[in-house]
C-alpha cells in the first residue's frame, strides 16, 4: 500500500506524523450544564461527546443494585453522519452492546466504586465524527466526563491504539491506517500504577511483535494522559478560583512526542 511506502523509507506517515506522534487533541469539559458531568474530545478528526449522570439511585429494579459498590452503565452510540457514508447505526445492536461492555470494564477499573455503594453511574458516549481509534476517543472522553462529574477515580484512565507495519509500530491510528488490514492493538492504561485496565486486539499478529506494539501503545497512553491532565488543570483554573493544581511531573516527554502543531 502506497501509504506505508513513505513510512518505510522516510519515517513519515501519510498525514505527516512521525510513527510515535499522536494526533492533535482538543478537549472541552462541562459542555452540557444539564448533565452531572460532560466532555467533548477531538482526537484528530475523531470527535466524541460524553455525558455522565449520577451517582444516583439504581433504576429498573432493586435487583440490579450492588450493596458493596456502584453499578456503572454505559451507552455507546454513533451518529449517522459520523463517517463519509451516511449510515444509521443500531443503538442496541450487537456491536454497540459489545462496546458498552468494554467501556464498563475499563471504567470499573478506574472508578472508586466502593464509595458509591447501591448507586448507579450512567455514561453516555456519542461519536459525532469518526476517523479511526473510535473506542480510544470514547474511553478518554468518558474519563473526562467522570472527572467533570466529580466522581472519585483511582487514576485518569487513558486509552490509545497502535498498529505495526513492516516492523515499525505506529501510534494513534487513523481510519486509513486502521483499514489497511494490519492488526490493531488498543490499550487502556492506569498510568500511575502502570496497570492495564483494558486491552483489545483486532487482527492477527505474530507473537514476537506483541511486546513492541504494547510498549508503543502504553507510551501513547502516557502521553495522552499528560495532555489530559494539563487540559483538566487549565479547565479548573478558569472555572474555579480556589483550586491549585500541580503541573504534571514529566512534561518533557509529552511535548517531545506530540505532533508539531503550530
Amino acid at each position: 500500500m502506497a501509504a506505508w511506502e513513505l513510512l518505510k523509507d522516510q519515517n513519515f506517515r501519510l498525514d505527516g506524523r512521525k510513527p510515535t506522534e499522536l494526533r492533535r487533541i482538543e478537549t472541552r469539559l462541562g459542555v452540557f450544564p444539564n448533565a452531572d458531568g460532560s466532555a467533548y474530545l477531538e482526537q484528530g478528526n475523531t470527535k466524541v461527546l460524553a455525558t455522565v449522570y449520577g451517582p444516583h439511585e439504581v433504576k429498573g429494579g432493586r435487583g440490579r443494585s450492588n450493596p458493596d459498590k456502584a453499578v456503572i452503565n454505559c451507552q455507546f452510540s454513533k451518529s449517522a453522519f459520523s463517517s463519509s457514508e451516511r449510515k444509521t447505526h443500531m443503538k442496541f445492536g450487537r456491536n454497540s452492546s459489545e462496546t458498552n461492555q468494554h467501556l464498563v470494564q475499563a471504567l470499573n477499573a478506574a472508578v472508586m466504586s466502593h464509595l458509591y455503594a447501591r448507586c448507579q453511574i450512567d455514561v453516555y458516549v456519542e461519536i459525532v465524527q469518526s476517523d479511526g481509534s473510535d473506542f480510544c476517543a470514547c474511553l478518554n472522553a468518558s474519563t473526562l466526563a467522570l472527572i467533570d462529574a466529580g466522581i472519585a477515580l483511582k487514576d485518569i484512565v487513558t486509552c490509545c491504539s497502535a498498529t505495526i507495519v513492516d516492523e515499525k509500530s505506529v501510534v494513534d491510528v487513523n481510519y486509513v491506517e486502521e483499514s489497511s488490514g494490519s492488526a490493531v492493538l488498543i490499550v487502556g492504561l492506569l498510568p500511575k500504577d502502570e496497570q492495564i485496565a483494558y486491552m483489545q486486539m483486532k487482527g492477527r499478529l505474530h507473537a514476537d511483535h506483541l511486546e513492541k506494539l504494547l510498549d508503543c501503545a502504553v507510551e501513547g497512553c502516557r502521553n495522552i494522559n499528560n495532555i489530559l491532565k494539563e487540559r483538566i488543570g487549565e479547565h479548573l483554573k478558569t472555572h474555579s478560583s480556589h483550586f491549585t493544581l500541580t503541573r504534571p511531573a514529566t512534561p518533557g516527554r509529552a511535548e517531545r512526542s506530540r505532533p508539531a502543531i503550530a
Binding site: A2, Q10, L14, D15, D131, A262
Partner: protein, 939 residues
C-alpha cells in the same frame, strides 16, 4: 498547523463519497545543507560546496528536477556525475504512482550516500505546502508546489550563496518559474552545459516533443486507449494475450491467449504487429476467416536500414509466400498494448551509412526484439562494442522504436563482455554486494565460541567426508557412516549451516532472496552470498571446524530407516574428496583407513537405496552434459568432454535425496500451511506423443501411464546394434517433462505435492543452502521445528512464501538458461577456428530439417533440408525424410561436419553439414580435415 485534505472519491459500488483526511504541517523538516544554521539536521546530506561540473553554472548549485524529468530521464540522474539533487515529496509521490521502475531507481539513488540525493518533504513543511486552487488542475498544483519549494530553498539558502536550479521540460512551468525568479533549464540544455556532456547526452531519453516530428506520415495504426480496450475485452471483440515474436522471421509473431490455454493467434506483417514487442501484453482483434493464413516457413532477417514507408511493401513479401499454402491458422492484428515489457537491451551498433549522422540503429542480441534507433555522437567508439540501450517510445511515425544509449559493455567477442551480455539478457543480478550486505558478514578471524558449543552437538570426532566435483569451493554437504553395536548403521548427512549467518530480514537475506541461487557459468560463478561465506566460513572444507545442520539416521541392513534425528552441530571434515578420488579409494582394496571404510559402507547402502527408489518408479533420465578443459592462460576452451558419472556421484545423490525427503516430511508436519516444498507435476500424456512414435519406429512400445511404467519400459528398450539408443530415448524423455517447482504448502492441494521424477510423495531442497535460497528457508523452518531457533513472523505468511517461491522458480529457470547459453558460448569459442567431422545421431526428424545430437560434445544441431538443391520427401506418418534411396529416421547414425557460420557477426552459430550418408549436391565431402592428424598435433 493542521490542514484537512478534502477530496471526492467514487466507491466500488459507484457511490460518491467525500473523504476528509488530516494533513499535519511541520516545522521540523530541514533543508539538509550542512552549513545551514536555522535547521537542526543531524546528518546533512548535501556536500558543503555543492558544485556542478558545468561550463555555465559557476558557484554552488542544488538541482531540483520536476516529475517528468525524474520519470523519463532517470538514466541521466543515475549517472555518477549528477549529485546534490533535491527530490521533492511531490515529485516522489508522482513517480510512485506512475512508474514502478523509475520509482525503484529513484529509491536506489536516495539511499546511496555517494549520490547526495535528498528527499525534501515539502508537502509536510508549513512554508512549502500549498492548497489546490478551485480552478487548478492537479498537475498545475503540483507544478506550483514544486516552484514554491524551489523558491523556499532559494530564500532559505541565500545567506550561504547556494543557488537552486529547477530542471524542467515543461514550457509553461519554466516561464512561471522564471517570472518568480527561479533559475530553470531544460534537461537537454542542462546536460549540454556539463563538462562530460558527450557521454551524458547519449543517455538522454527522447522526449515526446523531440520524437513526434510533425509532417511525417504515420506508418502504423494508432493504438486504442486503455478504456476502449477494456470495453472491447469485456464484449469479446478483442482478446488479451502475450506477444511472442518469431525468432526466425521478423515479420511474424504469435499471441498466446490468456483465457484459453494453448490457443495461439498468428500475427503477420509489421502492420498487424503494430509496434508490439516480445513479451508485451496486448489486445488483439481476430481477422475474418477469409484472411486467415498459414504460418510461413521463411526465415527472414531485417537487414539494412529502411525508410519508414517501406513497411507495407515488406509485408507483401510474406503474403506472397503464404498464398499457395493450405493449412490455415487463425490470424489477428494488434489493436492496443496493455502492458509493455520493455527492459534494458543488449545489442550492437549498426552504423548509419551517412558518415556524420548521429542517429544509428542498434541490433539487439535477442533476435525477437526489433532494431532500436538511438542518437549518439560517439558512434566510432561504440562500433564493434556490445552496448546496453533502453527504449523510450515507439511513435506511430517511426518504423523503429526510439531509444537511448545506457552503457558500453565492451568489445564483441571478448569473453568478459559476452558473459556480461549473457547475464543481463537472462536478468541475473550480478552486481557487487553492497556495503550494507557486506556489513552483515562475520568478521575474520572467525572461530567457534563457548556459547556455540553449548547450543550445538559436538560431532567433531566423527569421520565426516565430503565428496564434490573437482574445483568446488562451496562445499555444502558432507557424510559419515559407521556400524552400530546392534548391527545397524548410523548415517549422517551434514549440511553447511548457512541460516546461522543469514538471519531473516537483514540486508544479506534480502539480497540472497532476490538472487535466489548461485549461477554457474562455464568459467564464472555468480554467488548468491558473498564469497567469505560461500567458500570459507560456510563451506565444509577438509580439516576445519564448521557449523552444520545434521540429519542422522539409523539404517538397518536393508537400508530401511529405523529412526531419524535432526540437530545443529559442529563437525570437522576429515577429507574433501572429488568424485574420482572417492571412487579410487573405494576400489582400491589396499586402503583400510576410516574414511575409506565409511565410504564403502555409504556406497553399499546407497546402492540398496537406489534400487528401492527405482522400484518405486523413480525415473533415470539423461541429458548430455559436457566439461570444458580450459587453457590456463587464455581461459579459452581447449577440449570438450562429456561428464562422466561415477558410482560415487549416485552415492552422494542418494543420501541427499534421503535427507531432502526426511526434511520435507518434518517441516510439513510442523508447518502444514507454510512449508516450502518442491513438486514435479506429472506431464500430460500429449507430451509423450513424439517419444512414443520414435520408440515405435524401432519396435518398442513405451507405457507412459505412470512414472513407474515409463521407467520400466525405458529400462527394457535396449537396442543391441545401437548402444546409444537407450540414452537417446532417455534424453528425449527428459524433454517431455515439465519443470519442477517450489511452492508453499498452504496454496497447493496436497495431492499435487507429488514429485514425479523422483516418485516421492513429498520433497524439498535442504542440502545446498550455499547456492540455493530455498534451502535457507527450509533450514530455518527445520530449526524452528526442532526448537533450535526462534520463529520469525514471515514464516507463517503464506502469501509472502508463495511470492518468494515464484521468484525462486523464475531465477532457477533463468539460471538454467544462462548455464546453457554459457555452454553454447564456449562451444562456439571451441570451434572458432576448427572444422571437425564427428559421429552423430538423428534425434528428431522435422518437416524441413533433421535435428542431430553429437554425443562427444553433448551438442545438438539442425540441418535444414528445405534449402538444399536436392528434393527431400517428408513422410508424416512414419516421421522420416527420404531422398532417393536414402531415408532418415530417428536414431540413425550419421557423420556431420561441424564449423562456425560467421556470416552474421552478432549471431555466430554452429553450422552442421552432412558428410555421411552421402547425398550428391547436398552433403559435403570429408576432405578438408583429417582427424588423426589433428589429434597428433594436440598431443
Amino acid at each position: 498547523m493542521i490542514r484537512s485534505n478534502v477530496f471526492i472519491r467514487k466507491t466500488k459500488r459507484g457511490k460518491i463519497l467525500k473523504v476528509v483526511r488530516e494533513h499535519y504541517l511541520r516545522d521540523d523538516v530541514y533543508c539538509s545543507f550542512p552549513k545551514c544554521e536555522q535547521c537542526e539536521e543531524e546528518k546533512p546530506i548535501f556536500s558543503s560546496n555543492p558544485s556542478v561540473d558545468s561550463k555555465e553554472l559557476v558557484g554552488k548549485y542544488l538541482i531540483i528536477p520536476d516529475s517528468n524529468v525524474v520519470l523519463h530521464q532517470m538514466d541521466i540522474l543515475e549517472d555518477s556525475s549528477i549529485r546534490n539533487v533535491i527530490i521533492l515529496q511531490t515529485v516522489y509521490g508522482e513517480v510512485l504512482h506512475r512508474s514502478a521502475i523509475a520509482y525503484k531507481k529513484l529509491k536506489d539513488c536516495l539511499s546511496n550516500p555517494e549520490k547526495k540525493f535528498y528527499l525534501f518533504m515539502n508537502e509536510f513543511h508549513r512554508d512549502t505546502f500549498i492548497e489546490r486552487d478551485q480552478k487548478e488542475s492537479p498537475n498545475d498544483r503540483n507544478d506550483r508546489a514544486i516552484r514554491t519549494a524551489a523558491l523556499w530553498y532559494q530564500k532559505h539558502l541565500k545567506p550561504y550563496e547556494v543557488e537552486i536550479l529547477l530542471v524542467t521540460n515543461d514550457q509553461s512551468n519554466k516561464n512561471l518559474a522564471l517570472e518568480s525568479g527561479i533559475k530553470t533549464n531544460t534537461v537537454e540544455k542542462f546536460v549540454k552545459s556539463l563538462k562530460n556532456c558527450d557521454e551524458l547526452a547519449d543517455k538522454l531519453a527522447l522526449t515526446r516533443e523531440a520524437s513526434s516530428s510533425t509532417g511525417k506520415t504515420a506508418v502504423f495504426e494508432e493504438h486504442l486507449p486503455l478504456s476502449s480496450i477494456q470495453v472491447g475485452l469485456k464484449s469479446g471483440s478483442y482478446i488479451q494475450g502475450t506477444f511472442h515474436a518469431s525468432r526466425d522471421n521478423y515479420l511474424e509473431a504469435s499471441v498466446d491467449v490468456y483465457e484459453k490455454d494453448g490457443l495461439s493467434i498468428l500475427i503477420q506483417g509489421q502492420q498487424h504487429m503494430n509496434r508490439a514487442m516480445q513479451g508485451d501484453t496486448v489486445a488483439i482483434e481476430i481477422l475474418p476467416e477469409s484472411e486467415w493464413q498459414s504460418s510461413s516457413s521463411l526465415i527472414l532477417e531485417d537487414d539494412g536500414e529502411k525508410n519508414d514507408e517501406s513497411t507495407i511493401s515488406e509485408d507483401k513479401k510474406i503474403l506472397q509466400d503464404i498464398s499457395n499454402k493450405s493449412e490455415k491458422k487463425p490470424c489477428g492484428k494488434v489493436v492496443g498494448i496493455i502492458k509493455r515489457n520493455w527492459r534494458q537491451f543488449c545489442g550492437m551498433l549498426q552504423k548509419s551509412l551517412i558518415e556524420t549522422a548521429t542517429r544509428h540503429l542498434v541490433i539487439p542480441a535477442d533476435k525477437r526484439i526489433p532494431k532500436i534507433r538511438i542518437e549518439t555522437r560517439q558512434a566510432d567508439v561504440l562500433d564493434g562494442k556490445r552496448i546496453l540501450v533502453v527504449i523510450d517510445s515507439w511513435p506511430r511515425t517511426s518504423r523503429y522504436p526510439l531509444g537511448h544509449f545506457v552503457r558500453n559493455l565492451g568489445a564483441i567477442g571478448d569473453k568478459k563482455t559476452e558473459n556480461e551480455v549473457l547475464l543481463i539478457e537472462h536478468d541475473i543480478p550480478h552486481h557487487q554486494f553492497s556495503t550494507a550486505v557486506r556489513a552483515c558478514l562475520p568478521s575474520l578471524p572467525w572461530s567457534i565460541t563457548e556459547e556455540d558449543l553449548k547450543q550445538r552437538k559436538d560431532l567433531r570426532d566423527l569421520t565426516v567426508v565430503s565428496v564434490d566435483p573437482p574445483g568446488c569451493t562451496d562445499i555444502d554437504d558432507a557424510l559419515h557412516c559407521f556400524q552400530l553395536d546392534n548391527g545397524n548403521y548410523e548415517v549422517g548427512v551434514h549440511i553447511a549451516d548457512v541460516s546461522h549467518f543469514i538471519k531473516p530480514g537483514t540486508a544479506i537475506d534480502v539480497e540472497a532472496a532476490n538472487r535466489a541461487n548461485t549461477v554457474y557459468l562455464i568459467d564464472q560463478r555468480i554467488d548468491m552470498v558473498p564469497e567469505l561465506l560461500s567458500s570459507n566460513i560456510c563451506s565444509l572444507r577438509g580439516g576445519e571446524e564448521r557449523f552444520a545442520f545434521s540429519v542422522i539416521w539409523e539404517l538397518d541392513e536393508n537400508a530401511k530407516v529405523v529412526n531419524v534425528k535432526f540437530t545443529k552441530s559442529i563437525i570437522k571434515s576429515k577429507a574433501a574428496l572429488t568424485y574420482a578420488e572417492a571412487q579410487m579409494r573405494i576400489d582400491d582394496s589396499q586402503q583400510t583407513d576410516d574414511v575409506t571404510k565409511s565410504l564403502r559402507l555409504l556406497n553399499k547402502l546407497a546402492k540398496i537405496l537406489k534400487q528401492e527408489r527405482i522400484k518405486q518408479g523413480s525415473l533415470t533420465l539423461a541429458s548430455p552434459e559436457v566439461r570444458f578443459h580450459m587453457d590456463s592462460e587464455t581461459h579459452d576452451p581447449i577440449e570438450v568432454q562429456t561428464k562422466q558419472l561415477l558410482e560415487t556421484n549416485s552415492m552422494v545423490e542418494e543420501f541427499m535425496l534421503l535427507a531432502n525427503i526426511a526434511t520435507a516430511k518434518k517441516i510439513y508436519d510442523e508447518f502444514p500451511s507454510c512449508a516450502l516444498l518442491r513438486r514435479h507435476p506429472e506431464p500430460p500424456s500429449s507430451n509423450f506423443e513424439s517419444l512414443i512414435k520414435s520408440a515405435e519406429s524401432k519396435g518398442f512400445t513405451l507405457n507412459v501411464t505412470s512414472g513407474k511404467m515409463l521407467a520400466e519400459s525405458l529400462e527394457k528398450s535396449v537396442l543391441e546394434s545401437n548402444s546409444y539408443f537407450n540414452t537417446m530415448l532417455r534424453i528425449m524423455a527428459t524433454r517431455c517433462m515439465l519443470q519442477a517447482l517450489y511452492f508453499c504448502s498452504g496454496v497447493v492441494d496436497q495431492k499435487d505435492f507429488y514429485h514425479y521424477g523422483l516418485a516421492a510423495p513429498i520433497y524439498t531442497h535442504f542440502t545446498s543452502p550455499i547456492r540455493r535460497y530455498s534451502d535457507i528457508i527450509v533450514h530455518r523452518l527445520l530449526a524452528v521445528s526442532i526448537q533450535a531457533d526462534a520463529p520469525h513472523p514471515d514464516f507463517l505468511d503464506k502469501k509472502k512464501t508463495q511470492n518468494l517461491c515464484n521468484n525462486l522458480n523464475y531465477r532457477h529457470k533463468m539460471a538454467q538458461y544462462a548455464g546453457r547459453a554459457s555452454v553454447g558460448l564456449h562451444t562456439q569459442l571451441f570451434f572458432q577456428n576448427k572444422i571437425v567431422c564427428e559421429d552423430g545421431y538423428i534425434l528428431f526428424v522435422r518437416k524441413n530439417a533433421i535435428q542431430i545430437l553429437i554425443p562427444k560434445y553433448g551438442l545438438e544441431g539442425t540441418i535444414f533440408l528445405d534449402k538444399s538443391p536436392v528434393k527431400f520427401v517428408y513422410d508424416e506418418t512414419s516421421g522420416t525424410q527420404k531422398c532417393g534411396d536414402i531415408t532418415f529416421s530417428s536414431f540413425d547414425k550419421v557423420v556431420v561436419q561441424i564449423s562456425i557460420d560467421k556470416t552474421h557477426i552478432q549471431h555466430q552459430k554452429l553450422c552442421l553439414k552432412l558428410v555421411s550418408p552421402y547425398i550428391g549436391g547436398f552433403s559435403v565431402s570429408n576432405i578438408e580435415e583429417e582427424p588423426p592428424q589433428k589429434k597428433k598435433r594436440k598431443s
